[in-house]
Symmetry: C2
Subunit: 222 residues, 2 copies
């Protein structure tokens, strides 16, 4: 059995987790563990809560550790129990992975030091704060550490990981089962295609402040 | 406020719901309602449960009704309370939508009669059983009824709907915030790209039986 373990915290961007969970739950022989500090429902960013199925204290050693991101990361960075759990699981995991700003939780746990990594585009400039170098690409592999870009990159990451674990044939069967033949109605999925005007507007409205909060949280308690 | 309401049932394919929920929760002025028969956790297909935030009985009239799919659809088709709730909400909703095999729940509620629609590729041949004509495309619009293809098509659908509701500019900002610039590692997302050998293998392993169960459920109680 391949134990896939996701780390949840309040304010998680749920698709960072639910996208890979959908893909990896179809990895042959995989079991999905959704771990949090307690078994209480975890509030997501999308107006609903997810129920963990194991506590940090009771979680077995995972084969695949996956840490999603979200606005809640800035707070989770200051939570010793969450960071220690990530560090402890990572020490015995075959794959240590993150989606979106989950990279900074890996980083706070000391897991990105000297590594090439990625995260959501609006936070990529902060990767050096955890000792990582930002690498181009939606899915960045550095040894057994895999980091994915923002939110929806988690689906591409998870298919990549299924191929690493079980071969491309199996990954393609999972892809077909999920009809993952994306056709975005618009071409605005990254700053280059969206253009500077739209990107700057979104930064002003959301991400300048959010990245500043993240930088402050990364600096605190160093 | 735009009320976005998702209908949950046991055995839902969670990404059918969580993908659109991630996108639509970023529609300006939107509130997300996740409705089920009771407030008990709803088991998904991915090894974890989602907590509804409203019961069918207490749900207000939605502006956007969205019905996800999953292996649980075959059972939900026989559940009068679920079907009546969908029919009742649809009668007052601005948009009536489905992802994946959620189309058959719309269909059982009488909402696809005479309409062009789509669903997961492995079930498309069953659309005439609910009076619909299968139309090509990952997102099919017929008046205020929008149906999406399998699982991941829900993300494309939801961005399309954000554009209909709030304009392309807003949809592109949401797309950029979710870094939705998909780069599938393989080209196997539909039967044409996956090829007949892989498609037939998956049908034999999963979908021939699943489609037969769906057809039987659609025939029962007609």
């Amino acid at each position: 059995m391949t134990k896939v373990l996701f780390v949840l915290f309040p304010g998680v961007t749920q698709l960072d987790f639910t996208g890979p969970a959908q893909v990896l739950s179809r990895l042959h022989g995989a079991s999905t563990f959704v771990a949090a500090k307690t078994l209480d429902p975890v509030a997501t960013d999308s107006g609903f809560a997810i129920l963990p199925n194991v506590t940090f204290a009771d979680a077995e050693q995972a084969d695949i550790l996956c840490v999603p991101g979200g606005h809640g990361v800035a707070e989770a960075l200051g939570d010793a129990e969450t960071i220690e759990f990530i560090a402890s699981q990572a020490s015995g995991a075959k794959w240590v992975t993150s989606v979106c700003t989950g990279a900074f939780l890996l980083g706070r746990a000391g897991l990105l030091e000297g590594k090439r990594a990625t995260t959501h585009w609006a936070y990529a400039h902060l990767l050096p704060l955890v000792g990582a170098t930002h690498a181009a690409g939606r899915v960045v592999e550095d040894g057994h550490t895999i980091t994915a870009g923002g939110v929806t990159a988690g689906i591409d990451f998870a298919l990549t990981l299924v191929a690493r674990e079980a071969g491309q044939d199996h990954a393609e069967a999972v892809q077909l089962s999920l009809e993952y033949d994306p056709a975005p109605p618009f071409a605005a999925g990254n700053p280059a295609s969206a253009g500077p005007a739209r990107t700057d507007m979104l930064k002003q409205r959301v991400y300048d402040a959010a990245a500043a909060r993240m930088a402050a949280a990364l600096s605190a308690g160093q």
